[in-house]
Amino acid sequence: MDALDRKIINLLQTGFPLTEAPFLDVAVQLGVEEKELLKRLSDLLENKTLSRFGPMYDAQKLGGAFSLVAVRVPEDKYEIVTAIVNSFPEVAHNYKRDHDLNMWYVLATDSPEKIDEVNAKIEKKSGLKVYNMPKLEEYYIGLNLPV
């Protein structure tokens, strides 16, 4: 990654225009050829420096339901509980974290009732209590990390 790649990432993290020739607009701003910008972007996506490029949708506004759920899993049961939790397609992410509540998964379902249903099934199968922590309020989503 060179200086131009960094400039491209830093600028495009903040937004992208809704115009007929948006890459040309951005290229002019960066002082490069449009072709060069497209090539660079394609490479940055290809080599996974960027995880995506495009509109970021608020899935909740599209009708989905989400929740973050924590579980306190005994170390000797960790593997089996991981398998149980991960077996549900509604579990989008699952992370091990260094806390007494040591498993944190994200549920993505098409209705709020479904969140409770999946959590109840996980409690039953694992024999562990789950702590359902849906967002009550969202303050910000987005990130500007200088690269």
Binding site: I8, I9, L12, Q13, G15, F16, L18, T19, E20, A21, P22, F23, E34, L38, L41, L44, L45, K48, T49, L50, F53, G54, P55, M56, Y57, D58, A59, Q60, K61, L62, G63, L68, A70, N86, A92, H93, N94, Y95, K96, R97, D98, H99, L101, A108, D110, Y131, N132, M133, P134, K135, L136, E137, E138, Y139, Y140, G142, L143, N144, L145, V147
Partner: protein, 178 residues
């Protein structure tokens, strides 16, 4: 930290968001673009051709989705990990309920915070009601970021913690059912 937890009367109702009404064409635009914009000179024209509509219509619809918040923004999303941000910590804070909205807005504005939410407490074992994800190169840098947030919250900080992820157990891309 838990002893400071106060049994505030919190409303534990998930926020009910007004659903935005999208028509079939809007939904097709969502479907086509959710994995990314086409990397061609005129990406919106590309979408328009696929849907058999005018490019001005695509732009107007996407603009309206941006205004209503269905599209948070159109942007490049860096892979933090590939860029050296290897310490990704979930910071959690116990702040007074009557102060949380103001504090959440302030914390969310920080450049190194990616997500900032109010979530329910589980007293007494989980007193934290404000969550902010921070991204740092290492744990030492993450601790400095925690300090910055603590300074911002000031005396309303009744206790906090940071939970680092030590293993990704599952990670799938989110696809929305149309």
């Amino acid at each position: 930290m838990m002893d400071k937890a106060v049994a505030d009367k919190v409303i534990i109702e998930p926020e009910t968001e007004e659903k935005v009404i999208l028509d079939d064409i809007d939904r097709k635009i969502v479907d086509i673009t959710q994995s990314g914009l086409p990397l061609v000179s005129r990406p919106y024209n590309d979408i328009a051709l696929r849907l058999g509509i005018e490019v001005s219509d695509v732009i107007a619809r996407m603009k309206s989705m941006q205004d209503s918040g269905v599209i948070r923004r159109i942007a490049a999303v860096p892979n933090h990990y590939a860029l050296g941000y290897k310490a990704n910590g979930m910071t959690v804070w116990d702040v007074p309920d009557d102060r949380i909205h103001e504090l959440g807005e302030k914390v969310g504005q920080l450049d190194f915070v990616s997500h900032c939410y109010q979530r329910p407490r589980f007293l007494p074992e989980w007193p934290y009601n404000l969550f902010a994800m921070v991204h740092a190169h290492d744990r030492a840098e993450a601790s400095l970021l925690v300090k910055k947030i603590a300074e911002l919250i000031g005396e309303d900080d009744r206790g906090h913690d940071i939970l680092f992820s030590t293993q990704i157990l599952k990670k799938t891309g989110l696809r929305f059912n149309q």
